[in-house]
Subunit: 219 residues, 2 copies
């Protein structure tokens, strides 16, 4: 019974996601969905990426409460829309109808890339299609190596992993090869970009990959 | 409509949680629910705490997949039951009926303390009463200071915060006072235990607090 209801919600979401996808494609916009645990460094990665990417971009930021992340991202000059999910019952993820609503605040004709910073949660957001073209997961090296096998859906559903906070590696018992092995156990061949958004190290290959994805859709 | 259904699930959960609470109390068991983001160090804290607490304990560990955490905790000698929520539809939290099921695997007459290590998720587990006597949230200093205001329900619902990985502080731009300010903004007067489970520093005040909670219930 409960499962039936959840399925129904996911069906409705899938239909709305397809509508979003049509809208974004009609307006020549590539949509990237960025997901992770709380505190993995999504906002810092996006702050740096927005200033370096060289593509007209906007951001939709999802948080249960606060506009902290939107305030930080707005300094990049890109249009930023904050969604506070406490207005939607404290949702633990961004759903397609929430994105549809938020996207109305953005002039889609003015941008080529829309980045969605999802709610910090390594579980639920992976289940909700929002009409994106690509999904990436950020994993902090401070989180331990085994997260990909403990939260496999997220790593299965994403097209790339951003392994962040590598500047902390000298101070952690963290085995990068082991972590990459776990990622590839769940998602063989998945690109993994090692980076420290804080120092800026390792951002270039990630930005190159993202530019390539955008170019492939928009030409 | 969706909200109505969610409410109904939460109502059923609340009733089952009360049954759990009666069962645990009848058997003289104090139940602690430990929650956090993925990778905050819950398992390491519990490994160390089990060996130092001096109370007969058992653990129920929730993960979507893997028995990694249970394997680590079992080395303490305490009875450990692993719940893999992928058998319950990949649930992002432990619900009361799951705890009821798992508790059947434990001889409650043999223990005074049952620790539940919840699924790594700073959002959903806070909504589900499992019949516990106390709840604590683990926050890693690698996650950034503003998590309490971004995920307020969790910090409101818990009786203490375990601020972990303090050994990393010299390598982070982390303002502990700011983090504590945010915690107390959401939950005035909440005890905050600063610790490094890795080095063992700061564990004593936390263990003393936990012993006091157990004693208050069981005498």
């Amino acid at each position: 019974m409960e499962i039936k209801v959840v399925r129904k919600i996911l069906d409705v979401n899938a239909r709305m996601a397809e509508e979003n996808r049509r809208l974004f494609t009609a307006n020549g916009v590539f949509v990237l969905n960025v997901m992770s645990s709380p505190g993995s460094g999504k906002t810092t990665i996006l702050e740096k990426s927005l200033s370096l990417i060289g593509i007209r971009s906007a951001v939709i930021v999802g948080d249960i409460c606060t506009t902290n992340d939107a305030d930080r991202l707005a300094r990049s000059g890109a249009p930023v829309v904050q969604v506070n999910t406490d207005e939607f019952g404290g949702d633990c993820h961004l759903a397609a109808h929430v994105i549809e609503n938020a996207a109305r605040e953005i002039d889609l004709a003015d941008i080529d890339l829309l980045i969605v910073e999802n709610v910090g949660n390594l579980v639920c957001p992976a289940e909700f299609d929002i009409g994106e073209d690509a999904r990436v997961v950020v994993l902090s090296v401070a989180e331990g190596e085994d997260k990909p096998v403990k939260y496999p859906l997220m790593f299965r559903e994403c097209q790339a992993t951003l392994l962040n906070k590598t500047d902390l590696l000298p101070y952690l018992d963290y085995d990068v090869e082991k972590a990459c092995g776990y990622i590839h156990q769940v998602h063989p061949g998945m690109p993994i970009f090692r980076m420290s958004a804080k120092t800026g190290e390792g951002l270039d290959p990630w930005l190159e990959w993202l530019r390539e994805q955008v170019k492939r859709k928009l030409g």
